[in-house]
Symmetry: C2
Subunit: 782 residues, 2 copies
């Protein structure tokens, strides 16, 4: 739990009223700033104390060997790990010969505010040194949404009550010491001194540039900084460079009330191909552009950018201020993770920590992209273009595995498979159908013809080809996909995972449809009529495992005949189960780590009757332990659909507060992008009942007792609209763009210039009681 | 292929007529000597050239870390690797200042003979040094069956035609340089300088003792040597010790025809607990005992021991001299691997090489023990007593895995699980039922009441308990064992593996019966009537997967609905498949690495009708690629049973010649004990149709066209008998012990003092044609 009394609940900010070093690690993640290209953890300006110093560049990684006790064909031999690059956010302070360090002296006041509309992290400190000298420090930090390569800090020191001598040291530091490795496989592999210095130019006029390269991955990195100093006349400034450090030192004397202000602009560039001089010049140019804009200009641009974002993305939650704050906090981090991708992936932790080695997973396509598709679609196109760019690697991986088409990696930074445990990596082929799902959803929402033809079609075709070599018609004609792993990581290498089969069915159909939309491009890709026929035949004959006796779908073949997990014998200290039980025991029993059948019901609502949805939900609810942060939002969506609104409300709370309350105890490694997206999903797809597809938006708003009004804004097919639901009625407004037809609780609504209000039908009480495994109930909200 | 024209086919020896350095590595394995405690690879006396120098002590290992790219609960963190211990077989020779090295000079004659009745490896060399000095060398080496801690070499150098000056250096060498590691996971992990010296005493009177310990496993080792020198009067002898070496140097001048003879006795001891002085004294005492017996005495004892063995174990194969030689060669190695175990395991390679890290597997219980049970039963009791001694570790492993009872390791030296890939290690729980099977078989054959009560019962009870926590009655009442791996390593983590279920059924029944035979001991083990009832209930309700449509048993649930392997697209260079295809691809398809259903039909003949056996054999034959050396003999047995005698004959050839012809290209790592046992199994259980159980021996002899007579000797329940079958009839003779009733082709035969001859019924032609995957047919015999 990092929520403590010093955190306030506010609609547009996350404010920490006092410093608690016990949760410093978590606040470094939640206060992280990023634009999708540069990520700065919320480390204190002065560098120490820290839990994990972190500065990341999207796509910049080092290799590390993946060892195996017993080798196997096709095992990846090399992993990729995000690098903590040159730290440009360090500004140290010396007050009357005492270093400013919060662990010493007296802290009278310490406030940090992440402002979701300004896009800044501000800090206000009133501190007295161990010898009793008081000082005020104010800093404001931003990573620019409009200047992709630039971050900036305005740092102010003010003398209080008596004159003081202060020295400010603003630095670029490479190869910082990090924290020791933990035993948890989810934590990052530590990299010691990953960077090799190539250049360090530090001048007295405030400019410094350092160039490094990695040992093994062959990447080069440049970081630069420039300073504007505003202080008393006799202020002294000089630059010095050393091994892995470049330091601008500013010394001055301040009279009481007088302020030294340092504006630090810093910039990054990296490349696999560009030379040292080219990268040097690149960051110098970015700094020049930022100097032209200036500090005030950067702040103004930042706010304008965010105003435009919130205009099409805001969610209003009346009656629950905590969730109101959390969903905006989540949307802000989603934007930060993706705003300036420019054909890079969205990692599971964004650029807020080194968790999961900085890798991207299927979560991006299935949890993050659905939100961005309707709120910041440019990022979805960017991230899918990155997938497209990795097609050659995915084709090569398929070849290596003896398959056709493309086999996208389970986890990666650059595109190569980096999973060291194949049953929960390579075998989780559903990542391919997930990418296809994201393509389909994006194309439906954007009608982006060029993307559809040039990016979407090849992705759909190559994933469909993979499925045609993975699946087969058995001797009874059924189409089977055997020996694969679905979303639930507590069952692996199973036959006919329902989720995989249903998403593959969609993948095959959409590939066929896309090929028919773009026959020329399809022909270039070698698609024949016969191939299209095979895709459709596979889709039509797809096995959908169902237990007739119980009247529920099977997560995979025979799942319902497996032994139930002994929940009564499993104490609360035994979760997450994977840290306390062997895989073989988890795999052979009925226990579900995260929504699997339930996720299939969300993404393929057409494949289930309402009665099946209710029965399936009840059956799997009793088996689902939610050991993954990816589960609560999906459970919220289907709980709401089948009428368990108060249960859905609890799941909403878990998804929304995953990081603010550190529910999984690993927010220290970075925030959970998918769970942050889950707050939006639970609200909009859950209580808003939003589904989309086939050119149609559908809504079935139905609110839980605590939420009195739910409003949200969406972008769809060139329109921008707002939806505002109370318990009684829903109002739809077109804010921009052409009229559209939508469905309100199944009823067609034509939405033009006039807003439309429709009553919500009376809520039906669910037929079926549901329960969770003992001790795994979603936590109640106070 | 190591069979080359210089190898002769002889009934009682393996003779190599000339040296071929190209197959030196393989000959080091096949010429290895061992008594189950000490193993010496067939390295040349002078140490070089060598492929892999090897001296092993059963149970002596070093630890090595088992690394994982992604950690998991319950993964073994530490592996065990057999150590190449102090080499006592090195005897170097200098002839007129030229070292005797076969790579230089001229080799006029070089013969090596492994004598299967003498139990010795002899070598005759006639060599001229590079400067043309001729010399004759004769050496005879043995590892004593009667002096457990002792090996001996008689080394003779003779001057030919002219007087020569010779120097013989007889050594103990620790931390020898080995060969570099290969990429093949089946090869041993290399250990560099695993031994740390503690003592080196070398005296001029021919005695030397060295004590070492391992770095990490905490084991201590002593090696000693003693020499008897017989040469011209002016022979000079002195001892010198150095780092990791102890050297006895003998220098003399030989007239033409004169001989220098050195008898070297060497001895080993190791312990986890005993002190350096205690081990020192132990090997000195063993040397003293061996000196008392003397060289001639050791040789005479060796022959007497073997005579007694062959009296109850010999197999005669008329019409196929190659197989005749091979089966005796195999029996000899089986005896070598097990004669003086004294509660140690029988490794998969015996003590003939470092393959599989020196580990023991389930092969010992299922392939090696059936042979030894009827030919050298003392070794079976020994090896099962070792399993019993590891019960505390197996119980602890079960606890760690969340199971009750005992979970025996898939691979180990000392008892801890050392498998680094759980789907083919931990999940292969059948090893527990395999141990129970060996217990049942041994108790049936020996009626050893004390063993039954004190060793067999606890093993049966604790394995039955494991199954009761691994299996469960599903909601329809069927007893299922889900998520386990059977013998076939190309399907893993599957539900209801037929082999596992049938052997578990037997395990549960036999545990119940044993508990009822020994109620007091059972009560001490906590066995209750209720527990016995549960065992029987599980056995009765055991799931036996069967495909009604095809009329064949399923290897595991839904196996027959999986995609067939594309054999036509799999070239001969793609075998073994596991080196060319990912596990996920192998697991999800119908392709069988080694007999699984077919092995179940051998071990549980009662569970199948003759028609089912024929259909199952045909079905799985078409899917079985035999990428394991454990498969051919089982296929031979069932092929013979269902009437495919010529096919069975080919499989016999593969099993018998696995090492002599190096069919799997890894005989260099040591001989394949299970396959060597397989020659006996194919002959006796295959063409002899022998099955045993319930106090009855059953035979159904039926010979293939090439074998004109098959004779074999067995020990059963205190009797020793011989069986001699021709195409027409079978003659049974009681050689020793009480009369017994046996079954000849289902007909009861009372066997007393008089030999009994019964006609063999006319052979039935099989109904069903069988074929193997293309290119995987067993090789024809010329």
């Amino acid at each position: 739990m990092i929520r403590h009394p010093a955190f306030t609940i506010e609609p547009w900010a996350l404010r920490e009223r006092r410093l608690d070093l016990g949760v410093l690690a978590q606040t470094e993640s939640v206060f992280a700033l990023s634009n999708g290209h540069i990520g700065l953890r919320g480390n204190l300006d002065e560098g120490e104390p820290h839990a994990e110093p972190g500065t990341y560049l999207n796509g910049f990684y080092e290799l590390r060997p993946l060892p195996y006790a017993e080798a196997g064909y096709g095992y990846p031999e090399s992993g990729q790990t995000v690098v903590n690059v040159t730290n440009g956010k360090v500004i140290r302070l010396l007050v009357e010969d005492e270093p400013f360090d919060l662990r010493y002296g007296t802290l009278h006041e310490h406030e940090r505010v992440l402002d979701l509309r300004a896009g800044t992290l501000t800090r206000n400190v009133h501190w007295s040194s161990p010898t009793g000298t008081p000082v005020r420090i104010r800093s404001t930090r931003l990573v620019s949404f409009t200047h992709r390569a630039v971050a900036a800090i305005r740092y102010e020191v003010q003398a209080v009550g008596r004159p003081i001598r202060v020295v400010v040291q603003s630095e670029l530091v490479a190869n910082e010491m990090g924290t020791p490795a933990s035993g948890d496989p989810r934590a990052a592999a530590p990299l010691r001194s990953p960077l090799i210095g190539e250049e360090n130019v530090t001048s007295d006029d405030g400019l410094a540039i350092m160039v490094h390269r990695t040992r093994d991955s062959g990447l080069r990195l440049a970081a630069g900084m420039w300073h504007e100093i505003d202080g008393p006349d006799e202020t002294l400034a000089e630059g010095r460079g050393g091994d892995d450090v470049s330091r601008m030192t500013v010394a001055t004397r301040l009279s009481p009330g007088q302020t030294l202000r340092v504006v630090k602009l810093f910039s990054y560039g990296w490349s696999r191909r560009r030379s040292r001089p080219a990268l040097h010049d690149q960051v110098a140019a970015a700094l020049a552009a930022a100097r032209l804009t200036g500090w005030d200009g950067l702040c103004a641009d930042q706010r304008r950018f965010l105003d435009a974002f919130w205009d099409g993305a805001d969610v209003e939650v009346e009656g629950d201020d905590e969730v109101q704050q959390a969903v905006r906090f989540g949307m802000f981090h989603l934007l930060q993770s993706s705003a300036r991708l420019e054909k890079r992936p969205i990692p599971a932790k964004g650029l807020t920590g080194s968790g999961y080695d900085g890798h991207t997973f299927w979560d991006t396509e299935i949890f993050v992209m659905p939100v961005l598709t309707y709120t910041y679609p440019r990022a979805v196109a960017d991230a899918l273009c990155w997938r497209y760019a990795t097609l050659p690697l995915a084709r090569e991986r398929a070849r290596q595995l003896g398959l056709r088409g493309a086999a996208f990696p389970w986890r990666t930074i650059h595109g190569e498979e980096c999973s060291g445990y194949w049953p929960a990596g390579t075998a989780a082929f559903h990542v391919n159908a997930d990418i296809a799902h994201a393509v389909t959803q994006y194309v439906d929402a954007r009608q982006d013809e060029e993307f559809d033809r040039d990016t979407g079609l090849p992705l759909l075709v190559e994933t469909a080809r993979l499925w045609c070599s993975l699946g087969h018609h058995d001797t009874t004609g059924h189409y089977r996909i055997d020996g694969v792993t679905g979303p639930d990581e507590y069952t692996a290498v199973a036959d006919n995972n329902l989720y995989t089969n249903l998403l593959t069915q969609q993948n095959l159909r959409e590939a066929a449809a896309a090929a028919e939309r773009h026959p020329e491009r399809a022909a270039e890709l070698g698609v024949t009529q016969e191939e299209i026929r095979r895709w459709r035949a596979g889709a039509e004959a797809m096995t959908v495992p169902y237990d007739e006796r119980l009247g529920v779908h099977q997560q995979s073949d025979d799942f319902t005949r497996h032994a139930p997990w002994d929940f009564d014998a499993t104490g609360p200290d035994k979760y997450p189960l994977l840290l306390h039980f062997p895989y073989f025991d988890l795999y052979r029993r009925q226990v579900v780590e995260q929504a699997d059948v339930v996720l299939a019901m969300h993404l393929r609502p057409d494949a289930f009757t309402p009665e099946q949805k209710a029965r399936n939900f009840a059956y799997y609810e009793a088996l689902t332990v939610r050991d993954s942060s990816l589960s609560a939002c999906t459970q919220a969506v289907i709980a709401a659909e089948v009428g368990h609104l108060e249960l859905a409300y609890r799941y909403l709370g878990e998804a929304a507060l995953m990081d603010l309350d550190d529910l999984e105890k690993n927010t220290v490694d970075g925030v959970h992008m998918a769970s942050l997206a889950g707050a939006w999903i639970a609200l909009v797809s859950g209580f808003g009942g939003m589904r989309a597809g086939g050119g149609r938006l559908r809504f079935s708003p139905c609110l839980p007792s605590r939420i009195t009004r739910l409003g949200f804004r969406l972008r769809y097919r060139g329109s921008r609209l707002s939806v505002s639901a109370t318990r009684e009625a829903t109002t739809y407004r077109l804010l921009e763009g052409p009229p559209l037809t939508l469905l309100h609780h199944g009823e067609e609504v034509e939405l033009g210039a006039e807003e439309v209000t429709r009553p919500n039908p009376p809520r039906h009480e669910p037929d079926q009681e549901v329960r969770q495994p003992p001790g795994r109930e979603p936590r109640p909200r106070s």
